[in-house]
Amino acid sequence: MIRDITIGQYYPAKSILHRLDPRVKIVCTLLFLISLFLNKNVISYALATVFLFCVIKLSKVPFKFIMKGLKPIIMILMITVVLNLFLTSGGDVLFQVWKLKVTEEGLRTAVYMAIRLIYLIMGSSLMTFTTTPNALTDGIEKLLHPLNKIKVPVHEIAMMMSIALRFIPILLEETDKIMKAQIARGADLESGNILQKAKSMIPILVPLFVSAFRRANDLAMAMESRCYRGGDGRTKMKPLVYGSSDRIAYAVTWGYLIAVFLIGRFVAVKLWIF
């Protein structure tokens, strides 16, 4: 039941994207997100589309799988589109339903907003699909390393993040198991009002907390018995080093960002209202 959550999940495959340095993927994803907000006209959106779909093709992650990640934001997407569509004023009125006017400006903002949101989710989920949680936190740790100078415990934060990420599937599985065990004992989790429903969660939450603490304890013990004592002087088995494909990826993404910026600045193309 809970197994089917895909957002933030790793999709194992062998592709150029999977092999890239996590830092590259984090930075390039950020650049892509920035580019989405620099988009101003049809050509730059087309460029973003081409860029995104080429990267998806390279990643070897099935398109269907990426689309699944969009499911949770459908509601937000609908609300954004509807609000933008009816509440933005400016330009000619295209049509009118009762008191609600749809203007040129409104239609344009709504469509652009929808595309931005969809690409935003697709872009960032592509990063998590192609990067294991551990690699991701490694990348973040390295990227934030300079903050160490102003006494930010970067390593500890990264370690906490990777532990938290690692525990998500474990705790999900545990929840699944406990839920099944209690259902097998006749627990009713679905019917009743909110209060009864909340009460029926007790047989699941109590064992879940107990087991979370037990696991945390075990992990702490295991880490200490292997002499873990924080980040000072700690070396890595697989240190992150940029390779040639990483440099190419940087160059391509920067090139793309600059292109988007220049198109938005100097090219004035209009296709109907877009």
């Binding site: 065990a181 006749g186 047989p203 064992p207």
Partner: protein
């Protein structure tokens, strides 16, 4: 009065990278009152199989009949099914949650809608059946030893008076003595109550002694199904799939190969000892 599975298939996370065909065309029938062992290596599909028995998992394809009725039919009363097929999960002590043992064991009967007195009556019976000492009834379940926790958790399912009791690795993580005690108690239970007992394990040694029928699972398929003696004649094939026949089987086969005409069917140490003595007397 039986459980009947017809061509059950189950696929985990279909259409994703993690797709796994966990059960492949499994068909079997279990009569009321049987003591059945299900054996298989880790990942052989045995835990998935037993979760079908009380409808916690719905088969991707296939049919499951409980007492002649297809449980996948619309309007089938799953709750009633779960009252009759009690499932004890692996490490059942992880599901304990109440303030004391008594209330925890009462959780099942309470969900069945019984009165408080009836619940306690059943809880006492069940705790008694698993040999849980009375002085701990009012203790917090979290303060008990591993073995006692497990007894309390098994009692929690027994108190629901199921017709079929399914236990998934009830001895995992227990010491040899705790293991023997629990298994003896389950065998005793089977004799007393005439329940159907289905025991899942990966250890041949454990089950061989108790069950009258053994189902061997391998990679989601039913590999062997028969009396333990029959199944153990395939001890060489069992080894190939990461299982082993009881040590006695090996000794008896070795003896027979080196010329002592013993019967190689024996599965328990006592039977084997008698057989060897009988043969030696002949000489």
């Amino acid at each position: 009065m039986s459980i009947k599975l017809e061509n059950i298939n189950y696929i985990y996370s279909p259409d994703t990278a993690y797709q796994k065909h966990a059960l492949k065309n499994v068909s079997l029938e279990i009569e009321q009152g049987q003591f059945v062992g299900i054996i298989g290596h880790t990942g052989s599909g045995k835990s998935t199989l037993i979760q079908h028995l009380n409808g916690l998992i719905k088969a991707t394809s296939g049919a499951l009949y409980f007492e002649g009725k297809n449980i996948y039919e619309d309007g089938y009363d799953m709750k009633q099914l779960r009252n009759q097929v009690g499932l004890v999960f692996q490490y059942p002590e992880h599901q304990l949650f109440e303030v004391d043992v008594m209330s925890d064991v009462c959780f099942g009967p309470k969900n069945q809608g019984l009165s408080k007195e009836e619940c306690e009556q059943r809880a006492r019976e069940a705790l008694n059946l698993v040999g849980f000492p009375e002085k701990y009834y009012k203790q917090s379940p979290f303060d008990l030893s591993g073995g006692q926790k497990r007894r309390a958790a098994i009692a929690g399912v027994l108190a629901m008076h199921p017709k079929v009791l399914v236990l998934d690795e009830p001895t995992a993580g227990l010491d040899p003595r705790g293991r023997d005690e629990i298994l003896d108690q389950i065998a005793h239970l089977h004799k007393e109550t005439e329940m159907t007992v289905i025991l899942v394990s990966h250890s041949m040694e454990d089950v061989a002694k108790y069950v009258d029928r053994l189902i061997v699972m391998n990679k989601g398929e039913k590999m062997y199904d028969g009396a333990p003696k029959e199944v153990f004649t395939h001890y060489k094939e069992l080894e190939k799939v990461g299982l082993a026949a009881p040590q006695v089987t090996y000794i008896m086969h070795a003896l027979s190969e080196s010329g002592l005409p013993v019967n190689t069917d024996d599965t328990t140490i006592m039977e084997a000892a008698d057989e060897i003595m009988r043969n030696l007397k002949h000489d």
